[in-house]
């Protein structure tokens, strides 16, 4: 599903974001990407959705080679991915329902498909009662749930979450993680970046820890699976 071979990323000016990353993430896995701020978590995710191109190595996502992917084919890759940022980035002038359906509208779904899918997603993220509220009228945790629902609108194979609990209190964070695990159980591969090791340690999932652009830990339910980078 996701395969990084000797991936390095050096920004203009010489700062190293990632260095010799070797990682393989299988279909249906749930992976926590952890590490302090500036450790390379966001760069790792941005390579997956081809917002950045690695300077070295080869990256493959859902069978697509990221290095050689032409710009006009990037949207085709992104339709297989769901992306959730730390900021939910909801459209203020649209209701919860409209925010979710917007993603489906631009991808050309029919009104019937949109209605059915949006209802299911609202039920999944437990926001049925907030369907016609505007983002300002709901809590931060609920806003993150809307962002997750929107990311799932195109039925992605992989859900990428970049610090989705960054602005939430521990209780709400825990709820989001439970929701993501529920999504994962339905078959979607989930990669969640977080600097909150407290959340991660309570869950029995694979953990990839980055520090200064290098993998310092790759552990699956306590089993050490580091393939390189130290």
């Amino acid at each position: 599903m996701i395969n990084f071979k000797d991936i390095s990323l050096v920004f203009e000016g010489g700062s190293v974001a990632l260095s010799n990353i070797n990682v393989e993430i299988q279909d249906g896995e749930f992976v926590y990407l952890i590490g302090p701020s500036g450790s390379g978590k966001t760069s790792f995710l941005r390579i997956i959705y081809r917002d950045l191109i690695p300077t070295n190595g080869e990256a493959e996502v859902t069978g697509t080679n990221i290095n050689s992917l032409s710009s006009w084919r990037v949207p085709l890759l992104r339709r297989k991915l769901g992306i959730v940022m730390q900021e939910p980035k909801l459209l203020k002038n649209r209701t919860v329902t409209e925010n979710i359906s917007f993603a489906m509208e631009v991808l050309g779904f029919t009104p019937n498909e949109i209605n059915t899918q949006v209802r299911q997603l609202l039920s999944l993220v437990d926001l049925e009662s907030e369907a016609y509220k505007y983002p300002e009228q709901i809590s931060s945790g609920q806003q993150t749930r809307v962002a997750i629902a929107r990311a799932l609108a195109s039925k992605p194979l992989i859900l990428l979450c970049d610090e989705p609990t960054g602005n939430l209190d521990p209780n709400l964070s825990s709820n989001i993680v439970v929701l993501l695990e529920k999504i994962n159980r339905a078959g979607t591969t989930v990669v969640m970046a977080t600097h909150d090791s407290g959340i991660v340690n309570r869950r029995k999932k694979r953990i990839i820890e980055l520090d200064s652009g290098k993998i310092v830990r790759d552990e699956d339910r306590g089993r050490y699976t580091l393939t390189g980078g130290l």
């Binding site: 959705y49 992104r78 992306i83 631009v106 029919t110 009104p111």
Partner: protein, 291 residues
């Protein structure tokens, strides 16, 4: 179909967001297209009229009636022998009188008062190239049979020079206005994209194609270009109709342009404005897609 509905809806939403800028853009395109239309039709009218005049009499040699008709005949023969001369016609005093009466048929008082014996006979010369009228004047200089020489070439030359100067000025102005419209379209797009930056970011994340993100902006620019050019061409046609029925029509100037030419000009203006809209919106949205 769903996507097209969204694009069209979004195009009109964009227009509603910046109505003043949209109006300014349409006005700039209108002024530019109108100037181009008027300049090109004006030039066509002048060319049509000058070519009509150029096919007529270029030099009129008024003859001295004190000289014998044999001398007049000799002068006509020598004029006919010049290579630059196409045709020479003798115009008698009687014919000059008839022409005068015809020209001033509405001014009976003038006709009654004129002493027709003073109207001279003349030789009316048609040249292969009207600009050679100066050669004829030089050759006839000092000829005792000649009383006076009048040439239309000088007036035609002056008119052509004036119209070509006007055409250059109007075309330059039209280009300046077109450039302003170009910048206005770019600015309108930039403002709209700024207002929609979050929407565009989401569209990119969910996998909307660049073309799809760009289409509402391209449609908007095309619509503005089309509205501007349609108003310009419509007003241009109105102006032609008005002038061809006004005092101008009674003057020596004939406002007559072929339908084929007008159709061709209309098509050129529409195609040019569509191309203009496409290029300006393509360039305006380039940054948006590359960001």
């Amino acid at each position: 179909m769903q996507k097209l509905t969204y694009v069209i809806r979004d195009t009109f939403l964009n227009i509603r967001r910046n109505p003043l800028l949209v109006i300014a853009t349409v006005l700039a395109i209108f002024v530019s297209c109108f100037l181009a239309f008027v300049t090109l039709t004006g030039q066509a009218v002048v060319e049509e009229n000058t070519s009509r005049w150029q096919n007529g009499v270029h030099v009129v040699v008024f003859l001295d009636d004190r000289v014998t008709t044999t001398a007049h005949k000799q002068l006509q023969e020598s004029l006919e022998s010049y290579s630059e001369v196409r045709e020479v016609k003798y115009f008698s005093k009687e014919q000059a009188k008839e022409e005068f009466i015809l020209l001033f048929q509405n001014q009976q008082e003038l006709i009654d008062e004129v002493d027709f014996s003073i109207l001279p006979s003349s030789l009316r010369v048609n040249l292969h190239d009207p600009s050679n009228y100066t050669l004829i004047i030089e050759r006839l200089d000092g000829n005792p049979a000649v009383r006076e020489i009048r040439a239309s070439g000088e007036a035609i030359e002056r008119l052509l020079m004036m119209t070509s100067t006007l055409a250059v000025a109007a075309s330059s102005f039209s280009i300046v206005i077109a450039f302003a419209a170009f910048i206005l379209i770019g600015n309108t797009i930039r403002l709209t994209t700024f207002a929609k930056r979050e929407e565009i970011e989401i569209m990119k994340l969910v996998g909307a194609s660049s073309l799809y993100i760009r289409l509402p902006f391209i449609f908007e620019a095309l619509l503005e270009a089309l509205i501007g050019s349609i108003i310009a061409v419509g007003l241009g046609f109105g102006l032609i109709n008005y002038l061809s029925e006004s005092f101008f029509a009674d003057s020596i100037f004939i406002i007559q342009i072929s339908d084929a030419y007008l159709l061709q000009l209309t098509l050129i203006i529409f195609v040019a404005s569509i191309f203009f809209g496409l290029v300006s919106s393509y360039l305006g949205t380039r940054k948006l897609v590359n960001e």
